[in-house]
């Protein structure tokens, strides 16, 4: 396999983008990535677009073909990749394999979702189509429901409290304030979301025990990156950021079938594979972008990926280890919690953030001296997980 490098990245600000269509957003992010790489008129061999629900959210299909058309990238091969909220991660994985195999030299990967085109309950229902049709969906189960069921068990077994969850939200909102691309630019406090008499109004229950500020927002947005063989990096003006490793793993569709529902097996295996391929240990990672669609997931993923022992993630959070200046900064971008979570965009946005961090281009949220980054994109409720390790060379 050829070593694969990321030579261009681009994003657009996440949020509510009423003026832009899905393809508008994908195109703007792709152009930003192409300009970042300085590809000029060079032909792009293949395009992969991560998107979960354009058919349901936007009444549009064949999004990758539409993006090629919009950008005049003919006759590039084009595929839309759907893997729920991990669609972006899967799209990058496909792009990496295309370059690594020698089939393609220059590959554009974009991820995007336009979720705010529909009203909230409709968006909730569309996202809930990921649940099992007969065993979960018919009951009104949503992704927050699955998070609520999981959080109750995790709190009981791993000593996580509502304060720990709030602390994840507070940290990631603080980081998001430093990210011009973040959906949410608002500081929150423990008083405001948990401790004061107003907290119950500010931060209502969504799916007990998780509250509003334990959930990511519903966002529009897109992100993109350009991949090429590492030996071609010199042809572009960017530092070499290589995909040192990647991993993907699956688990049962329903939470109830897992022998231990608090064991995120797919997270464990995907992270292990990515780190092993990169020949690194969790302690070697300088910065991580984890899939905090719900605050509990940042803590649980940090443990299952091997950064902390199971049950020790909350303590690491308490000690400030996951802050931007800490031992292992997690979600300096603000994570899904503050950057936002346009489903298909998220896995790509995580990698974009890592590239900025490893290049030293992350501005006020820069993790000093970051050379190795880790991302984890969580599909379904942990039933399909994609992980990357990036390294500056």
């Amino acid at each position: 396999m050829r070593k694969v490098a990321i030579i261009g990245v681009g994003m657009i600000p996440f949020g509510r983008r009423d003026e832009d269509s899905l393809v508008d957003m994908l195109s703007y992010a792709a152009l930003n990535a192409m300009d970042d790489a300085g590809v000029g008129e060079r032909p792009i061999d293949a395009v992969y677009v991560g998107n979960m629900g354009a058919g349901l959210f936007n009444h549009q299909s064949a999004v990758a073909s539409a993006l090629v058309d919009r950008l005049n990238l003919f006759p590039a091969a084009a595929d839309t990749v759907e893997n729920g909220p991990a669609s972006g991660g899967s799209a990058i994985k496909n792009g990496v394999l295309a370059v690594a195999s020698g089939h393609s030299d220059l590959v554009l990967v974009a991820g995007g979702e336009k979720m705010r085109e529909v009203i909230g309950p409709r968006a909730t229902d569309i996202v809930a189509t990921m649940t099992h049709p007969q065993a979960e969906y018919i009951y009104g189960a949503t992704l927050p429901t699955m998070a609520g069921l999981f959080t109750r068990l995790y709190m009981k077994e791993c000593g996580v409290t509502s304060e720990h969850l709030a602390r994840v939200a507070i940290k990631n909102h603080r980081n998001g304030l430093l990210n011009p691309y973040a959906h949410i630019h608002a500081l929150i406090t423990m008083e405001g979301i948990l401790k004061s008499p107003h907290a119950v109004v500010n931060n209502p229950i969504v799916a007990d025990p998780i509250r509003l500020y334990d959930c990511c927002p519903v966002s529009d947005g897109a992100a993109a990156c350009l991949l090429c063989p590492a030996e071609m990096v010199g042809e572009f003006g960017k530092p070499a950021i290589v995909v040192a490793g990647f991993g993907q793993a699956t688990d049962t569709h329903t939470l109830q079938e897992r022998e231990d529902p608090t064991d995120l097996k797919a997270v464990r295996i995907a992270a292990q594979k990515a780190l092993e391929m990169a020949q690194l240990k969790p302690k070697d990672i300088d910065v991580a972008e984890l899939h905090d669609a719900f605050t509990i997931l940042e803590i649980a993923e940090s443990e299952h990926a091997g950064f902390f022992k199971k049950g020790a993630g909350a303590k690491a959070l308490d000690e400030g280890q996951t802050e931007i200046g800490g031992k292992l900064p997690i979600n300096p971008s603000g994570g899904l919690k503050a950057r936002g979570h346009p489903l298909g965009a998220t896995g790509v946005a995580q990698v974009v953030e890592l590239v900025w961090q490893l290049r030293g281009e992350a501005g006020e949220r820069q993790v000093k001296g970051a050379e190795k980054g880790f991302s984890l994109n969580f599909g379904g409720f942990g039933n399909n997980v994609v992980s990357f390790v990036l390294r500056r060379e």
Binding site: I138, G140, T142, P209, T252
Partner: protein, 112 residues
């Protein structure tokens, strides 16, 4: 009760629900259909207050339970103050309207 049909692997005895065509435990392909038996024990639950399109309720309690014959399933809880490990009695009742059709599902109440 019951419209809920689980599949017990004839090779290893593992109870699969929902349906799989290869056993989750041993990958064998032969199953005996079984229904949940006895009372259920509450494994976890959540009161959901942001419900999806098509459910006109303020909040709804959902939980995961395990029956005496190892069938594990999600269901709707009709219980005031749930607690982990409590015993529940199952019934099969309307849980949602989908495409204009009433859909029946597992409903659980406190066992006496």
């Amino acid at each position: 009760m019951s419209e809920l049909v689980a599949c017990k692997c004839t090779n290893c005895g593992f109870v699969n629900y929902p349906k799989h065509d290869r056993c989750l435990n041993c990958r064998a392909r032969e199953f005996e259909e079984i229904t949940p038996s006895g009372e259920a024990t509450l494994i976890t639950y959540s009161e959901v207050c942001t419900l999806p399109w098509g459910i006109d309720e303020r909040c709804r309690m959902l939980g995961i339970v395990q029956f005496e014959n190892k069938v594990k399933a999600m269901g709707r809880l009709r219980v005031d103050k749930p607690r982990l490990g409590m015993r529940l009695k199952p019934s099969w009742e309307p849980v949602r309207v989908i495409g204009g059709e009433e859909v029946l599902g597992l409903t659980l109440r406190r066992a006496k």
